[in-house]
Chain length 398, copies 2
């Protein structure tokens, strides 16, 4: 575990406290604050049933500016109708008033039970202490405040150089899967002192999300509350990054790494999961084909239970890959478990069973499916399907 | 349980025997034989990795004629390459020789482990006895011979009148879900003495499959071996049914009922399932939207575990429905559990929790989601996701 100080990003303060939304005494309200206006971008769930905080953020993020993110766990403020929007605004206004900033500069997020009203009085009562406790090394507490059934915190940090200036990135996330009764999925907040134009930030954030959070799957379910936000306050003093610049490419590499680290944390911490399985589809004709096939394998309950059972059951993998209506050249398709070929020329390859069974016992396993159709590829990380997944999702009642 | 005689269809003989493919002594080889050439149609898996018997049948069914179906359980003859095709042909030739019919008139099917060669010697050794035992009341034994992990036989029977003549239909099926290690899904064989033109039979069979087998889901997985065949031998002597005739409509109703009964049997017998859940999406703009949304709900692991947990967790249902990118008018969407409204105007409806929890304890539960967008609808039957599903699929090794 990194020292708390290591998560600092110049010009950002954070805090997380307990206000009473969670009944177990855990932190349930978090605040991230930029000491100066920051450039901001966001990526949100595409679910039709968007939670109130998502609807509010989608409106506010259009300005491309933000100074604060306030987020609670325990209640998702989803499927709450106009009351939910009013509640989100109440929380936002309480935060902006205490911080002394324009209310439009506050972004909000919630995660927890669907269909319940936010306990705004508890939140309002906590705001003063939340703001008073803001500090440079508060990011770990902010992470704790957004966790629900997460078994461990997901925090990632990167430092790099852009135009001779040191630039710092830090991200926190909670996940993964639509967790126990009605808990809503994935929140991720990234802060950086990089100087970057709004359009460039938006583009680079979306691309990095596509290769990280959009390349993991726990149960194939998309929540009403999924929210990823990035704030860049420019304090690093690097030359302002614009679209299609070499500096932007370097920044994107760091950001992608950071987000991938967080995304893998989500899978590792997936509900009931015992393994992380990396499914790579190569030699696809189009990227879309590669993605669809990788997800079909990653989301197959038969594949996921086979990994839980530590059975190198290649039949389930090729059958899942073949089920989408993408006409595969079945004689050309090759399947590898780690580096061992297990299926080629339309049939299984015998003789290395002992090695295969040994690989299946590992906590992280790579599967590669080469389609023999083209040159595009895609990788999805997924978890196994276990008794605990069923237990978590069936046996905790609303 | 119906008496064995009740399953008779004039002009059809059947049998099912043990040849040693199954190690538990159960019947593993089945034969259905029409005493005269029959009109035939088939619907097959769209999986790219089609098993050898599927490839052979797809070729043979083009003639629109068949006289026999020979099917084994225990080994799927899938992912076996050219050897698998040769093995399927060997079985077909052994059967046609013993029956004294043209080999092209034989259709084949297999279900069981993927990637293993068919034990053709055992099958060949059994053919003589299989044919010798053919009888009018042998359909129940034929059903037993195609079962794998099925807990009960799926046989359905209908009698009706077409142009003053009595017409009989009988269907058998095995399923459901890609069953324990590498077991491959769904086989269904229907026999009838109806007189019907090939094109009419093909059309009516495809339509009836769409509303029955293609409207059930156990785990959203499509196998390499899915095969549905129908043979119509014309012995009823009814006026030959043609496309777009009133008689054909009546025949289709009987056939649809028969297939729906078999399909529901598959869900009820789904791996580890404790409940049958009927998901109906109404008021969709297009049938395709209704289907996609019904399947998204039916295949959501979070929805399926909630039913196993007997928790009326409507948040998971609306979230699954909203996750597809079909823009739903969230204020208009209404959700019903049986006849009780539980979600409307973008939020949950309180006050009838006791009734909802009581409904969730039933073995069969209906869910209706009205989208408020149009007039198209679709129904999918699914099962719950249970500890036993994980156990069956994780803990039996290849």
């Amino acid at each position: 575990m990194r020292n708390k100080d290591d998560y600092r990003v110049p010009g950002f303060l954070a805090n997380g406290i307990h206000t009473g939304i969670k009944t177990d005494g855990g932190r349930d309200l978090s605040l991230i604050f930029s000491t100066r206006p920051a450039t901001a971008a966001g990526v949100f769930t595409t679910n039709s049933f968007k939670a109130a905080p998502v609807l509010l953020d989608q409106e506010r993020i259009r300005s491309g500016k933000a100074r604060a993110v306030i987020a609670n766990s325990g209640v998702a403020n989803a499927a709450t109708g106009p009351d939910g929007i009013a509640d989100a605004l109440t929380v936002s206004r309480a935060a902006s008033a205490e911080l002394g900033i324009d209310d439009e500069m506050v972004l909000v997020a919630s995660t927890g039970v669907i269909g319940h009203r936010l306990p705004v009085q508890k939140i309002e009562a906590g705001i003063k202490g939340l703001v008073a406790g803001l500090r440079e090394d508060g990011i770990a507490d902010a992470e704790a405040g957004i966790m629900t059934t997460d078994r461990f915190p997901k925090i990632a940090h990167r430092r790099g150089t852009i135009g001779s200036k040191e630039v710092t990135l830090c991200g926190i996330a909670k996940g993964a899967g639509m967790i126990q009764p009605n808990m809503a999925t994935m929140l991720a907040f990234v802060i950086t002192d990089a100087a970057i134009e709004r359009d460039a930030l938006d583009q680079v954030f979306r691309r990095s999300i596509a290769g990280s959070f959009n390349a993991v799957s726990v149960d194939g379910c998309m929540s009403t509350n999924d929210t990823a936000l990035i704030l860049a306050n420019g304090l690093a003093g690097n030359p302002l990054m614009k679209r299609a610049s070499a500096n932007l490419t370097r920044f994107r590499e760091s950001l992608s790494e950071l987000l991938s680290e967080l995304a893998r944390g989500l899978v590792r911490d997936g509900e009931g999961s015992t393994k992380v399985i990396e499914i790579t589809v190569t030699e696809a004709k189009t990227k879309r084909d590669a993605q669809r096939i990788a997800y079909a394998v990653a989301n197959s309950n038969l594949v996921k239970t086979a990994f839980f059972g530590e059975d190198p059951n290649w039949g389930r993998i090729v059958s899942a890959a073949g089920s989408l209506g993408v006409g595969l050249p079945t004689e050309k398709v090759c399947l590898f478990l780690e580096d061992i070929p297990i299926f080629a020329n339309g049939k299984g390859i015998d003789g290395r069973e002992a090695e295969l069974f040994a690989i299946m016992k590992r906590p992280e396993i790579r599967v590669r499916l080469a389609l023999g159709m083209g040159s595009r590829s895609w990788t999805v990380c997924t978890s196994d399907l276990t008794f605990d997944y069923v237990k978590i999702n069936a046996h905790y009642h609303t």
